[in-house]
Symmetry: none
């Protein structure tokens, strides 16, 4: 099992081969997820629980805040299964959680949950109502003071409807990228999503600065992590952004802030890692999105798939359902640079699924 280089050189990942990794999961809720049919990542009516359940399952292989693990409406299990499988086969050396506006705290002991006094953001159709400057500053501070005993950190996300807020963010910041975005649906729900986006973007006025725009249409995961990335520039720590188009939106936000404020970034300490499914997705273009950046970025996709699995629900991943989330792509790439066999991951995911 190996990885593909989307952009940049493979040297970054080759350098990290065999090194220990910290894993940090950004957990956030946007009430945009309450819009019927906007997201597949959770239980209808209980989308706000998805990040809580993902955090629980990843940490303790148990969902304590609900009876069953979050599945999509078509019964596709959360990509947290994949990340957990990797964590069992080749454990990350630490698992930590960022509370970027959870409705329900994960029910576990010992694991660190960083709290920033951030509340769930509102539906972007009527305005997310994020204090974007404040959330961004909190991210910067967290990055500046970030301590880890490892050389790199995998930064992942779980936020239902996050692809919608990501797309709204990039569009509100003026990027010409409407066609480059994915959702976790196989058939991008153009009608619902387009309607949400159009309504949300109507709130954006030409005179607004970056942070005002983010306040209306973004989410706390994007705004905080844009700050985190910039704050971390004060250190030598290396960061893997674990995700697809949502992490691309984080980078586009960083890019806009740098352009406005005239700052610079050493992006050689940074990379984006995603799944094969997201990279090969016909309804989005991660490479094109990253090429909108004014700085160079290393980006990679995993080579893992469920081709050899007998599980019908897992094979839906290969058909383009779910695609990415909870750092699945980066976890698979981490597995590949740490000698884990593909078959062992397939077997472990099946075992976790109870198949």
């Amino acid at each position: 099992m190996n990885f593909n280089t989307i952009l940049g050189k493979k040297d970054f990942l080759e350098y990290l081969r065999g090194k220990k990794a910290s894993f940090v999961l950004s957990c956030s809720v946007t009430n945009t997820a309450q819009i019927e049919g906007i997201s597949q990542a959770g239980i209808p009516g209980k989308m706000y629980l998805t990040p809580t359940l993902d955090a629980e399952f990843l940490a303790i292989k148990e969902v304590r805040s609900l009876d069953n693990i979050a599945t999509t409406t078509k019964g596709i299990p959360t990509p947290a299964l994949i990340t957990r499988a990797v964590h069992e086969l080749k454990p990350f050396s630490s698992l930590e959680f960022l509370n970027l506006g959870l409705e329900v705290l994960p029910k576990f002991e010992h694991f660190k949950i960083y709290d920033f006094n951030i509340i769930a953001s509102e539906n972007i159709k009527t305005g997310a109502n994020i204090d974007a400057m404040d959330v961004f500053q909190k991210g910067v501070e967290f990055g500046q003071n970030y301590k880890s005993s490892n050389e790199y950190t995998i930064l992942a996300e779980t936020i239902p409807a996050g692809t919608t807020t990501a797309m709204a963010t990039a569009l509100a910041l003026g990027y010409d990228c409407k066609e480059f975005f994915s959702s976790s649906f196989k058939t991008n729900p153009k009608t619902i999503k387009d309607e949400v986006l159009n309504t949300a973007l109507e709130n954006i006025k030409p005179h607004m600065d970056i942070f005002e725009r983010l306040s209306y249409v973004s989410d706390n995961m994007i705004v905080f992590n844009a700050g985190f990335i910039l704050g971390l520039q004060a250190t030598k720590h290396k960061l893997i952004l674990a995700g697809g188009t949502q992490m691309a939106a984080v980078l586009l936000t960083v890019n806009s802030i740098l352009k406005t404020m005239g700052g610079e970034i050493d992006s050689s300490k940074l990379a984006l890692c995603t799944t094969k499914w997201l990279f090969e997705d016909e309804n989005s273009d991660i490479k094109a999105l990253l090429e909108l950046l004014d700085f160079k970025i290393n980006a990679y996709s995993s080579q893992f798939d469920f081709l050899t699995s007998k599980s019908k629900v897992l094979k839906l991943y290969d058909k383009g359902e779910a695609k990415e989330g909870v750092g699945a792509g980066a976890a698979l790439i981490y597995a590949s640079i740490n000698g884990v066999k593909k078959e062992d991951i397939v077997n472990k995911v099946e075992e976790l699924l109870g198949e």
Copy 2:
């Protein structure tokens, strides 16, 4: 391969998943082991060598103080084989040794052997003659000053006849637990052991305080490690007590000291880990023993067995022989939270055994 939760929540071990561990082996001799038929853990007449040989084999895969590795009278190899196998497959990041009254020092270089000027304790039938307050204080000091580059330490033991002194300790401290104790025999040698216990406990008088009682019937492993646990409370370090009923006796001793002295313990930094064989043993009840404590304790058992092994002597473990020692259970659990496969351990143990 996974672990079972005996008491508490699995969160403690899940938190430690992927983290590096220090391994510390408490090596001690009680001359109680000289009583014929009292212990199976070594060579008759040379029981005092067992901890020395276990230490050597664990550290260097060689027994330099004797021609052959310590086997029980029925030819069951020491559980040090299991711990060594795990150490080869997923090495502990350090191996250190506590000399808690060895007759013969292990013959190896570089490895740290902490010396506390403690001598082997005597046969409890006539009184162990331990300066219990002094040994306890040495443990406390060691705990208070304990330094490790890791977040947790696995504390194991090797002391032949240790289940007898453990049982005597708990009974002398007034716990109603006679039926909860195991020995390393399959058929608990009730006659010999009962006779030893009865004789030993006759020396305990109602007016005696805890330390006087320990002086008569305990062993240095128990007394020192009770101090170690309490001294370590001054730090944030996490500790896994690697063993079955003997480590339970250490905890019961801690419990009695706390009750008498009015102290408190943060037991969330502490857990006991043992083997499946000990947990499932019909002649002892580790869970019931731990439920005698006035504080809560996390306790876990490994899921490992030799079901798939072709070795007849190893299969004796599955039949309830030997069961635990030299931290075998904790080592197996450490393997399970670090991605080691069961089959790899079976194969490695067979290889070490020369089968």
